[in-house]
């Protein structure tokens, strides 16, 4: 088990290192001059311009040797300093992002957990039941082929614009003050529902199909046939098949995390939901390079943490990882 975690953590550390390096390299070696672009943009605000001119020369550190710039970058990073946002000058990028994170997590965490649970249950139930199978399969494939933002767009159009049941945009209405009062929480929940639902549905399709296919393979496996030959009830055979099929689905969850996060980002953009995705859109529209780079690092760290969580769960459910170095996501 120790070896298992050591290997995993080693890879995550290396990944973080690579990601930070990429984050540092790209602005420096891409064609074009980001400092000029930013200053051109910033010159719209005279009071900011001068401070930023000095700031950027410092941060991009064009006066010190290149290895020095790299070390400085790490140093600032480890102190939680990701630069200053241009869009929201002079707020630091870190605090801008930290304000958006709770919204993104509030969408992502329930959507991931619920869709994984419901999709697996449903897929397992549908497998090898002719009528259900024939409907679930096409619907599931269409759902998982749907671009996240398009399902969001459709839901927003149907349930907000046409039916008027849900609000179409924002994290909460403009006319209410954030507080812990029940009326505000209801308001918050009503704005949360549609983006959550579109994330949930797309993922649900994927998990249901995955589980359905896995169950069919498991039911073809020798141990299933053996159990059947012993006269075990169908329900028991299916339960064993389900338990075995959960492991690859867990691996699948780890592998899909990047795509899921991306899905959340674009869904937020559809609903102008004030999370990380919406922030990134604003950053792109305002040429706010520091904000984008900061968001990139936050996403990487989040995905690495989530991966690690899956690894821990894997150890809990797969005894093989506990005894030897084998198995694992």
């Amino acid at each position: 088990m120790r070896q298992y975690f050591q290997r995993k953590l080693g890879i995550y550390a290396l990944t973080f290192f690579v990601a930070v390096t990429v984050d540092w390299v790209i602005p420096r070696f891409m064609p074009g001059d980001p400092v000029q672009t930013m200053l051109a943009r910033a010159s719209l605000r005279p009071e900011a311009s001068e401070a930023m001119q000095a700031y950027y020369t410092g941060v991009f550190g064009l006066d010190v040797p290149i290895w020095r710039q790299y070390l400085n970058f790490w140093n600032a990073l480890l102190h939680g300093d990701l630069g200053v946002s241009i869009w929201l000058f002079p707020q630091p990028v870190t605090s801008v992002i930290l304000r958006a994170i709770p919204y993104t997590l509030a969408l992502l965490v329930p959507a991931i957990l619920l869709s994984w649970w419901a999709g697996n249950k449903f897929g397992a139930y549908a497998a090898r039941r002719r009528w259900l199978d024939n409907t679930v399969l096409p619907v599931g494939y269409v759902l998982t082929a749907t671009p996240y933002m398009w399902l969001g767009i459709l839901l927003a159009w149907a349930l907000a614009t046409v039916a008027g049941i849900f609000p179409i945009a924002g994290g909460y209405s403009f006319d209410v003050e954030p507080s812990w009062s029940p009326s505000f929480l209801v308001n918050l929940a009503r704005h949360w529902f549609l983006p959550f639902a579109s994330l949930f549905l797309v993922m649900f399709g994927g998990w249901a199909i995955g589980m359905r296919n896995l169950i069919i393979y498991e039911l073809e496996a020798d141990y299933s046939h053996y159990l059947e030959a012993l006269g075990a009830p169908q329900r028991l055979v299916r339960r064993y098949a389900f338990n075995n099929a959960l492991l690859p689905q867990l691996t699948g969850l780890a592998l899909q995390l990047g795509v899921i996060v991306a899905g959340a980002l674009v869904t937020e953009i559809v609903f102008s939901y004030p999370g990380l995705g919406y922030l990134i859109l604003q950053a792109i529209n305002n040429q706010d390079f520091f904000l984008i780079q900061g968001a990139f690092l936050f996403i990487i760290v989040g995905v690495l943490l989530a991966n690690f969580l899956v690894d821990v769960v894997y150890v809990l459910v797969d005894p093989r990882t506990r005894v030897g170095m084998r198995g694992g996501a």
């Binding site: 990944t15 074009g32 995955g210 990139f296 990487i300």
Partner: protein, 308 residues
Amino acid sequence: MSVSDQEELAAATPAAAAATPVTVAELRASREALHFARRNRKLLLGAGVVLAFLVVAAVGPLLTDHGPNEYVGPPAQRPSADWWFGTTMFGQDVFAQFAHGLRSTFLVGLLGGGLAAVIGMTIGFTAGYRGGITDEVLNMVTNVVLVIPTLAVLLIIATYLRVRGVVPEAIFIAAFSWPWVARAIRAQTFSLRSRDFVDLARLSGAGGARIVFREIAPNMSSYLFMTFILLFGGAVLTAAMLDFIGLGPTDGMSLGLMMNNAVLWSALPLGMWWWFVPPGLGITMIVGALYIMNVGLDEVFNPKLREL
């Protein structure tokens, strides 16, 4: 498509039908596959839908005499005989945008999916066949790229590109979407490389590349093809997301960019459904058809799954 699908594909397809080396048996197998392929409804349906869209992509732009970004008609028109898919807020022809966008979609899918398949296969075969330190290094690289969220990297790369085209976009997508392929192929190569027929080839003095391409790869050709289909779909979806965020092609048109424009210019509250329904529907139908095609192919190549 969930990755577990890909994993279990890897587990199911490989060695069962494998051990037969080339020649007569091979020929019979391919004729048998063709026999089942022609009778597989999922495969035919999927292929039909993809082909239909391919035709629209090829012919559509020729039917209109203006570019996708030209302001040619009255703004915000509903679909009509004059404007088949209506017009945008600025009087651009939605059908022209759609047809041109389809071209980008197929280009990104073919190029992005194809390149990713090549990279994944090269690394997977090399790691699996060579083993040892080569395998260790390649495996580590694979695992690192696997964990990095593709869209996040593309995000910072695309941000710093002043001029963005569809081709570079496809190349960047390919550069970050190959890892699961490399992993699956490496695992299968491992299981195949110690087979008797591979040993025989090695004894007869064949080189590594020759053994991989002539002995090992043909035994998983069906899997390789299905991998490409999944990569195609993945590349299309990734490109759509990237374009939707606002990092799409700066001079061309794409389906993701159409949705981006629609949302940006309030098509949603205004209820201009003809602006945002076609691009999403196009992507969903193409990618969904590809996935269903894959299920059909799976049934064709894997006798266990055939419905009798």
